[in-house]
Amino acid sequence: MSNNGTKTTLLRLEDINTYYGPIHILQGVSLEVFAGELVCLLGGNASGKSTTLKTILGIVKPASGRVVFNGEAIQNQPTGYRVERGMAVVPENRRIFGSMSVLENLEMGAFLRHDRDGIKADFERILGLFPRLKERLHQLGGTLSGGEQQMLAMGRALMSRPKLLLMDEPSMGLAPKLVEQNFELIQQVNQQGTTVFMVEQNANMALSIAHRGYVVQTGRIVLADEAKNLLDNEQLRKAYLGR
């Protein structure tokens, strides 16, 4: 485990190259997330944000480079292994299990855990975080509204009590008010001790709660800085912040 001052590295990508067939998507991506941090990854459409998350989670395998999680190189391990070691994801478009109840969806999040008491405690904690879900435990996931599905996806991911929560565009399809609420929740989860690595298009919002941010463009990291510096960055303003 590498130490950087007082901070511990939880996740590190080292010179990752990922291909879809012949198409070279991630071109030498390197980044680092420290334990306890909230880091966001910004970028335009098709810049490779989701691909980065998929590479971290092992849904696609990089052609070269290392994914180091908690001090262990895991780029050759299957997704299950990584989830067991403490990763969880809120996927793009939420991907709720539509014909399963809210309760079952949450249970699926804890699929790899066997500590009943711990699961029960986390379950209560998550229902406290999302009272809305508590009202609807027996409703089928697919019949939830988009916002509720987002909560469910987040609750489901948290059910594995992850060290690192990966989120792919959590604000997608939400009304502005909900987006704000959602980001507050993410911040809350982060403050309770979960490290968050978040992909977002909504750069303003994301940077307002994040500690640090990376900007990816056509598969390369072009900017990396403290969140507040990025908010002031001319280049980024022009490109994403639209002001």
Partner: protein
């Protein structure tokens, strides 16, 4: 089932209210079925099933019931693979065949081995499951349609091999060896024998199959509610999300494949023991279609659905062999459809009255024009049929005219379905119904074998229109 009402969804609540309000028999059944726990249903099933041989000594009926139990068990296996795990396995029947042939090898003169069934069954289960793994591991890399095609090929190859492996050169044998008995199969298998009890009569077999069905239901019910069962459902819903939750998707699929194969092999062994022989033709596509029809009809993934599905799919074709019964069913079916489809009810009565009047008038007109064109009605032993035939006109060359009438009927049905105005529609229904009855009496009731299939086909289509998720299937929720 949990009765927790906190945060019950609105439509669930509305459904409950509707059930509680529903009057009469329908409401009673709906309420009772909600209250009765699953094991209660199982007891009802076994009790009713066990009563059958007490009520009737009719071997034909008991044989049908035995077939229902056997097909039900087989369909339960398929239900695991397709209904739970969502894998479109079209080679499933081959595992049934593998079980049956393994039984034949372990209990016949063909191989000279004579194991009692309770010894051979565990072996058969293991062998079938292994074959499931062997077929599963390469093909599970394939998705959807590709998996279907590859497994379909496997099913065909199995039948081909069993048909053709009659002259195989083996090391250590001078002459080619017959491994499968070819198209003539393997005969004179040992009877099913469990712990000293040997099944001899139809009833013996039926009772064994009934118990097997009940046990299989119990096991698969608990399997579905276990961790692995829920993981299968998640997998079927969204494979990528399931993988992202850390589920071992490949292993889960293999497990479904192997368990499905084991259940199929097990059923196949019982089938072989009951029939006393095995032939390659027992395991062809017809059987595959029947098993799929059972689970689709009952509702994918639903256990009561499997039972209901196999009752309908096995019993219907057998019962419809009886012409009198088929006729009764036809008229009752038409009547029920009319009562269900036409509101208010008095219009149904009016319609039937008009059809009768229409028939009398047609009879008078045709009689006045050319009395020789009419044939004497052949009377049957059914009251309904006789009443209808003495009122209907049956022409001399009934078969040919019946064919034309069939074509006319299709056109008329299409026409009626396009009429919007209710009075005109009712008026148009009168001749349509008349022609329908005419076609039934001149053509369909004369050819039970064709009618049977037609009947089952129509039944399936109608059911699927009204219950697209099968009789007892749960509605799938698609996320859009």
């Amino acid at each position: 089932m949990s009765q927790n009402k906190i945060g019950v969804d609105q439509w669930v609540e509305q459904y409950d209210q509707r059930v509680n309000k529903a009057k009469g028999l329908q409401g009673f059944i709906a309420r009772t079925s909600q209250r009765l726990p699953p094991w209660g249903w199982l007891i009802v099933l076994v009790a009713v099933g066990a009563l059958l041989p007490v009520i009737t000594q009719n071997n034909f009926a008991i044989r049908i019931a035995g077939n229902i139990a056997l097909m039900g068990t087989l369909a339960l296996g398929l239900n695991v693979v397709v209904g739970y795990a969502g894998l479109l396995d079209l080679g499933f029947v081959a595992f049934y065949g593998i079980g049956a042939y393994t039984y034949a090898y372990l209990s016949s003169d063909f191989s000279g081995v004579h194991l009692p069934t309770w010894v051979s069954l565990p072996i058969i289960i293991v062998i079938s499951a292994l074959f499931g793994l062997v077929l599963g591991s390469p093909s599970l890399r394939l998705l959807g349609d590709y998996l279907a095609i590859v497994t379909l090929g496997f099913g065909q190859i199995f039948v081909q091999l069993m048909t053709s492996l009659t002259r195989v050169s083996l090391p250590g044998h001078e002459r080619p060896v017959d491994l499968t008995g070819g198209p003539n199969g393997i005969i004179n298998l040992d009877k099913l024998s469990l712990f000293g009890f040997t099944a001899r009569t139809v009833t013996d077999h039926y009772l064994i199959l009934l118990v097997v069905l009940a046990v299989a239901l119990l096991v698969i019910y608990h399997l579905n509610r276990s961790r692995i069962g829920r993981a299968w459902r998640a997998l079927r819903e969204d494979e990528l999300a399931a993988e992202a939750m850390g589920m071992p998707t490949r292993r889960l699929k293999l497990q479904a494949f192997a368990i499905g194969a084991a259940v199929a092999g097990f059923s196949g062994a019982l089938f072989a023991g009951w029939q006393g022989s095995v032939f390659p033709a027992n395991f062809d596509t017809t059987l595959l279609i029947s098993v799929y029809a059972i689970i689709v009809l009952g509702g994918l993934g639903s256990l009561p659905g499997v039972v209901v599905g196999s009752i309908v799919m096995v019993a219907a074709p057998d019962i419809l062999r009886d012409v009198t019964l088929a006729g009764t069913l036809f008229y009752v079916g038409v009547l029920v459809t009319l009562i269900g489809a036409i509101r208010p009810r008095w219009q149904t009565a009016l319609l039937i009255g008009l059809v009768v009047v229409f028939g009398v008038i047609v009879r008078l007109i045709v009689g006045a024009l050319d009395a020789q064109a009419l044939a004497e009605p052949q009377l049957s032993n059914s009251l309904i049929t006789n009443t209808v035939r003495s009122w209907l006109i049956i022409p001399v060359n009934a078969t040919i005219i019946g064919n034309y009438a069939f074509g006319l009927l299709i056109l008329m049905v299409l026409g009626v379905s396009r009429i919007k105005h209710s009075v005109w529609r009712l008026a148009a229904l009168v001749p349509t119904l008349y022609v329908l009855i005419f076609v039934w009496e001149t053509r369909l009731s004369q050819e039970p074998s064709v009618t049977r299939l037609l009947f089952v086909g129509v039944l399936l289509i109608v059911l699927m229109i009204y219950r697209p998720n099968g009789l007892l299937g749960q509605k799938r929720v698609e996320i859009v």
